[in-house]
Subunit: 202 residues, 2 copies
Amino acid sequence: MLIDLSHPIEAEMPVYPGDEPVGLKQCRDLVKDHYVAYYWQTGLHAGTHADAPMHLLAGGGDVLSMPLEHFFAPGVLLENGVDVPEKDIPEGAAVLIDLGAEHLYGAAEYYTDHGCVSRELCDYLMEKKVCLMGVNAPSPDHPPFPIHKALLGVGIPILENLTNLQQLKGRKFTVIALPLAIRAEGSPVRAAAWIQDEDDAE
Amino acid sequence: MLIDLSHPIEAEMPVYPGDEPVGLKQCRDLVKDHYVAYYWQTGLHAGTHADAPMHLLAGGGDVLSMPLEHFFAPGVLLENGVDVPEKDIPEGAAVLIDLGAEHLYGAAEYYTDHGCVSRELCDYLMEKKVCLMGVNAPSPDHPPFPIHKALLGVGIPILENLTNLQQLKGRKFTVIALPLAIRAEGSPVRAAAWIQDEDDAE
């Protein structure tokens, strides 16, 4: 079973304050053109997406330079962004953190009132060589983005604007969130959790 | 291990004849703006992508309406688009077909000289209730797109512009190709093959 962790991509979806708007407009019609086609215009941080080092670091790599294996790995859910977890997390895990903001998605407060990831937790995740960190908020930090810079600096990609994280509570899951093969600083992503054991039990 | 089956997304990448061009332009600068950002403008059939029923069928569903499970399933590689395979393929498989065109990607001939999927093979795949059909060509057929319409009509998504299919020859693999959560007729996709058994052997 797969649990979708992604917000829909649609016309007039929310964007980070100051970013260009998203456009998704029909440009071909089934009756007139014999097929339907839309044209999409977007920044790379609208909706559920991944950040690559190039977004904030001089000389940082683009999305296409990041190993695909970082985006397909056993997952761990952390219930807040402050505390180092009591139970050890496995090295190389894909760590998703509930910053308690996903219910605000679409409201202005989503960008101002979300929780952040503490420097202590960030250091712990780097020590554990996690392959990925994802949050259900627009960012794990605020400008000048110290958590972004620390993680991206050691090649750990960041997923932002995740949703449905509470559905992962108490479950064993694998994160599937391959970014597009794009030569840019970020990528829209369809993020999902694969619940393998419950499949087997069916 | 993951094998990337996707072409890069970049400025001035090839598009289907008659489709709008792709734009990928930097709009924020690390020195001036303290971060790098690109703005992307694209049709939904440039590069490696998925087609949803709405692309060619009246009343057909969009990409977001398609079950995610269609895009994460045990894969089968077929060596041509004409012959029904001698060895039975399992029901529900994600079938990738080598139409012998991926080396032409970037050339005008890519859009005119690719192989197609035969009606006989298409009927066999529908009978086997495959979850997905993917090709290393811009399309499995030519206008008026009978293979597209047959597969999409029974809810089988189509992946187009795949690459590296010969790397799958003789291997057991799982297709991972989740489309974006987009309310449109198609979606760029990062398609990959997960080689599980060789992982285990490592």
